[in-house]
Symmetry: C2
Subunit: 438 residues, 2 copies
């Protein structure tokens, strides 16, 4: 017999229906699923043998969904600072990766990232990095749900030598993932500047055949556009369009440089967008015009990008930054309100990943991916609007409980099944190795 | 005999000298003062009877200095959201204040704010609000250092009826503060749109006579400028100049709307500037051109503004936002680097308040206002650059220890001399009162 858990939180925000704050309600979980969501008194009567978890000072929301990241790069958190995207990549990150990246590096980094994300209420993460099987192993052990897309670039690295080599390894990994719980897989051609036309065409053909998504960095910075115009005689998006990649299976990340025509184009094709405001601010890449994209009916979610350009994987702060950056850049304080920010961090992320039938809202029949945030400390008092409090006041450190697929992974600063001392010791070891590079 | 404490932190960043990270060092505190800063081994020998406080995973920095706030308004945290400065003030905040503001409200709110600030590593706060004696009482009981400037406006409220009335009460409060420990006082004419020419002139004359600062909201939003041009035929700064207020005793806050000529003007006069990036983003007020002001040699510090427009008093995040907003708005990822952000939150705040002989850096003879931040959780690992980790990764929740004037006020989630249950109960009571207004 499967246990039934009844979570009575001070506030429950199911995200669907929109702008709804429930008080005196209970969310009922059976096994991996949301069984019911109803008034607390009714829940007590209907499920008399259920186990009660009272969360008297807490907001219960759908688990946060991180639309874009490179988990392994958490081992390079703060490694190179206060520099531009291209300098950061070519002078610091890529040389470090050339020395470091291995099964072990990726496993250790992804485990660190998974621990940070789970402790911050993230229940599902989109990830792209070399040695994706090591990321998959780390995420599965941690209990995190994920979309793992396999990076494809036309230059050699520790994981693969040629573009074709990357594609072959992608296909093998995607095949392996078919039977892996909590993981969906896809292709991640890195960017227009690091994949050939032939490579994009092959990836598209595999994606269509296998019906799996393509995850792509696109129009991240002005420099990317300039260099692409020089090399190809057109803007990156134009080339991606010509190659036939624009569709609802295409997940594009960043999109800080867009003309009106380009916005129309991606909207018409139903392309999925991930906005990474903190990484874009820190690298001075630019600002994704979220309000204009949403006005055209596009689905925009939020991602942290890696901890090396953020420098954390705190989705609560990422939603805040998305809201605040939209307001100041649109010169409109009502832009991207708190409810919209929460949607971007939950249901929009689920839609981005094609997982909105399973996660992204607290609806009966969906998976029990849940996050509880506590508003009892002085920085969280008083509370007039719990969603506003979450978006404008809280941080990952206010998260107290995280469940994935009905499993409680984290509770009050304790991980249920991660060996935290071992992870820390491992990170210390990598820190020494990375420091020795310089 | 006064106890000597020897704090051996993993990293010590004294702020002066600039860009210095000390390892294997100890900060030695005697009574309220910094007695020494030297290698740990030398400290053990030189101060053999001193009491050791080991902080093995911690960064020790000067206490953070919040350049602008309205502590009592913490009771209105999240009360009115996603709206513009003027709508926020006239439709929400001012009506609520008209009903609520009293000695009791201000004392309760300031106590809540002091607790939040202390737990987040803030050791000194600039504050302006009605019933300043209640703020002073709350801050003194909490042990927080402060500059309390007294608000002056030309309309009536619960605290004072006329502009002259405000000025008279200011003078009385300023006189009372002469003998108060840890408090400096000053005038806070609210803004060009809420004080008359005659009022400004009187305030200036008192300020010069008493040699105390004037703290002023200035050029906060485009709407302020437009309205002022309509009402007075000139931009606010021009009127403030004509009235003779520009000097190094003038502390101006916000400054999001500035022409090149205006920047030159305030630079030439040595005006002090407080930048409140989160409040400016949230209210879509605009962006203070920090890099340009600093290039002209101006001193720019950071402030949270009130929790009603932020919505927290987290100076760690405020420094981060200052850095990230400068980068993206200047299109320069090297703009406002991590060390500069830390200076803005420490020594620049001390200069802004005219307290840089006493606080703002870890120098021998200065007051022991100190903050320790712990980097042991997964979101803080690994550490390559402790200052970068502080600015780009940490939050107020990573602060573990806060000292003001040598007194340890906060340690590992515990306040040394605040009755936290009583404060919470009091806040709950006010929350009910505020909710009943709507």
């Amino acid at each position: 017999m499967v246990d039934i858990i009844r979570i009575e939180a001070r506030w429950i925000v199911p995200v669907i229906p929109r702008e709804t704050v429930l008080e005196n309600h209970a969310l009922v979980v059976r096994g991996s699923e949301i069984l019911d969501l109803l008034p607390s008194l009714a829940a007590q009567k209907k499920y008399p043998t259920s186990q009660l978890l009272p969360l008297p000072d807490h907001l219960l929301i759908p688990g946060l969904i991180n639309g874009h990241g490179h988990a392994a790069m958490s081992l390079l958190r703060g490694y190179a600072e206060d520099t531009s995207l291209m300098t950061w990549l070519t002078d610091h990150i890529w040389p470090a990766e050339a020395s470091l990246v291995s099964h072990e590096f990726v496993y250790s980094g992804a485990r660190l990232a998974a621990a940070e994300m789970i402790s911050g209420g993230t229940t599902c993460a989109a990830d792209s990095y070399f040695f994706p099987d090591s990321t998959a192993k780390a995420f599965q052990e941690a209990g995190l749900r994920s979309q793992i897309t396999v990076p494809i670039i036309h230059f050699s690295n520790n994981w693969a030598l040629t573009e074709q080599n990357h594609i072959d390894q992608s296909l093998a990994f995607i095949d392996e993932c078919k039977n892996k719980e909590l993981i969906t897989a896809g292709f991640a051609p890195h960017s227009p500047y690091s994949v050939s036309d032939a490579g994009f065409s092959k990836i598209l053909s595999h994606s269509e055949e296998l019906n799996i998504p393509i995850h792509l960095h696109l129009h991240e910075s002005a420099r990317e556009i300039q260099d692409h115009v020089k090399a190809h005689g057109c803007r990156p998006l134009s080339r991606i369009q010509t190659l036939g990649l624009l569709s609802s299976q295409l997940q594009v990340v960043h999109m800080t440089q867009l003309t009106q025509g380009e916005m129309e184009l991606v909207a018409n094709e139903g392309v999925q967008i991930a906005h990474c405001p903190q990484s874009n601010m820190k690298l001075a890449s630019g600002i994704c015009p979220v309000m204009q994209l949403q006005a055209k009916g596009m689905n925009v979610c939020v991602g942290t990008d890696s901890a090396a350009s953020n420098n954390d994987l705190d989705m609560v702060q990422e939603m805040r930054t998305a809201a605040m950056l939209a307001k100041v850049s649109e010169n409109d304080p009502s832009a991207l309100d708190a409810f919209t920010a929460l949607e971007m961090g939950t249901i929009n992320g689920a839609r981005f990943l094609g997982l909105d039938q399973t996660i992204g809202s607290l609806e009966v029949g969906k998976a029990a991916d849940l996050t509880a945030v506590c508003f009892s400390d002085f920085s969280s008092q008083p509370v007039y609007h719990p969603v506003s409090q979450l978006i404008y006041t809280a941080t990952a450190q206010h998260v107290t409980h995280t469940w994935v697929n009905g499993k409680l992974l984290y509770q009050n600063n304790r991980f249920k099944h991660l060996d935290t001392e071992q992870i820390s010791a491992d990170v210390q070891q990598w820190q020494r190795t990375v420091k020795a590079l310089k």
